[in-house]
Symmetry: C2
Subunit: 223 residues, 2 copies
């Protein structure tokens, strides 16, 4: 019985890493589709989101079954509780990637990315993919240095997010209302990825150390 139990716990962690990998792919494709107006790539992200959702539900079911049957304590309990929390955040990151893909599709054959903001969104997208990769590694290795890197990347993304609003609200902004709406939503989506990553990283720190970092405000006020 013990051995079966430990297999299950290992399975929990492997599944979290697998979901994080799928989320990384979704963010990579969605931000690239948004930048290039690639409708086929956007459609892939939209079609694949249900895979992430299903895997998150399956992981939750496994976690609850472990709680019910194995009644884990100490670190084993922390693994299971963390998995329940982290899977919700990863699932949400997948949804946000889907939103960016939907924005891309809605504007097709135009590009959703407003003029004058292309390089800003490219940088945000690249940082978001970096963050998702770091998060996957953090879940795989529990190397807590990665939590600090994720926080730094989040700060950089927050600065870019603020710069989008500075641009949109400046006298030089020529965009029509549609471009302003797109910039506002897209920037918020790009920023939320990193917020979720910071939140997950804190939960992994809890897993590794047993100390509950209070879930402070990651979310930057937008405008």
């Amino acid at each position: 019985m013990r051995e079966v139990f430990h297999h299950s716990l290992e399975d929990v962690q492997l599944r979290l890493v697998e979901i994080a990998e799928l989320v990384t792919v979704a963010i990579d494709k969605a931000t690239n589709a948004f930048g290039s107006g690639d409708i086929a790539l956007a459609e892939e992200v939209i079609a694949d989101d249900s895979v992430i959702d299903d895997k998150a539900v399956a992981l939750d079911e496994l976690a609850i079954e472990i709680l019910a049957r194995q009644q884990p304590v100490a670190r084993d309990l922390r693994i299971v509780v963390t998995a329940l929390r982290v899977s919700a955040s990863l699932e949400r990151m997948g949804d946000i990637a889907e939103h960016i893909a939907q924005l891309t599709r809605m504007r097709f054959p135009e590009r959703a990315i407003p003029k004058g903001l292309k390089s800003t969104f490219r940088k945000m997208g690249e940082l978001d993919v970096d963050v998702a990769r770091q998060l996957t590694e953090l879940l795989r290795t529990e190397d807590l240095d990665l939590a600090g890197e994720i926080r730094n990347a989040d700060d950089a993304i927050d600065e870019l997010h603020v710069s989008v609003f500075e641009k949109v609200l400046s006298d030089s902004w020529q965009g029509e209302a549609g471009a302003t709406v797109d910039a506002t939503l897209a920037s918020r989506y790009h920023e939320r990825f990193a917020d979720h990553a910071v939140s997950v990283a804190k939960k992994v720190v809890y897993l590794a150390t047993g100390t509950w970092a209070r879930d402070e405000e990651e979310d930057t006020v937008s405008a």
Copy 2:
């Protein structure tokens, strides 16, 4: 020991209801402050959000302690797992109320609510408060009819959310970029309250029935 245990479980539910009540007050104050430009009311929401955050953290700690010490099964386990999930959503609803209050503060002494959208946002705000009240009652009573009412209100809020974008993207829209940004963000925030409420309601249905409703997409694509 049994009696102590049941006290704890009852305590979990009472604490969830208490947090939901605080969130309802925050949504009520924030949407009213947004509609009227009442800076003092907005400041109250911002100051009080940490109370919600602290109570959510304390509830999580209690839930984890119960898992560790009491190793609940069956319905008792479902109460604890649901509490962990619901507290995260309630905490997030409090954050969103704070965001609306921050928008109000940022535009003061102007009103954040863009011209031509006043009655739309008033209706959204009223529906959001209704939803938060229904959610509180659902947590208190487990009356599952309330879950259906919450879903209906969410549909109505989604329609209003779509109408904001129709307005902003119409030829008659005279707002400058700042007003467009405010309308976009505020509408998204108002809509997210109800999404979270629907998500929590599903979790309460799980608690009552033991059947896991798949967490489908509540989130409306914005534009």
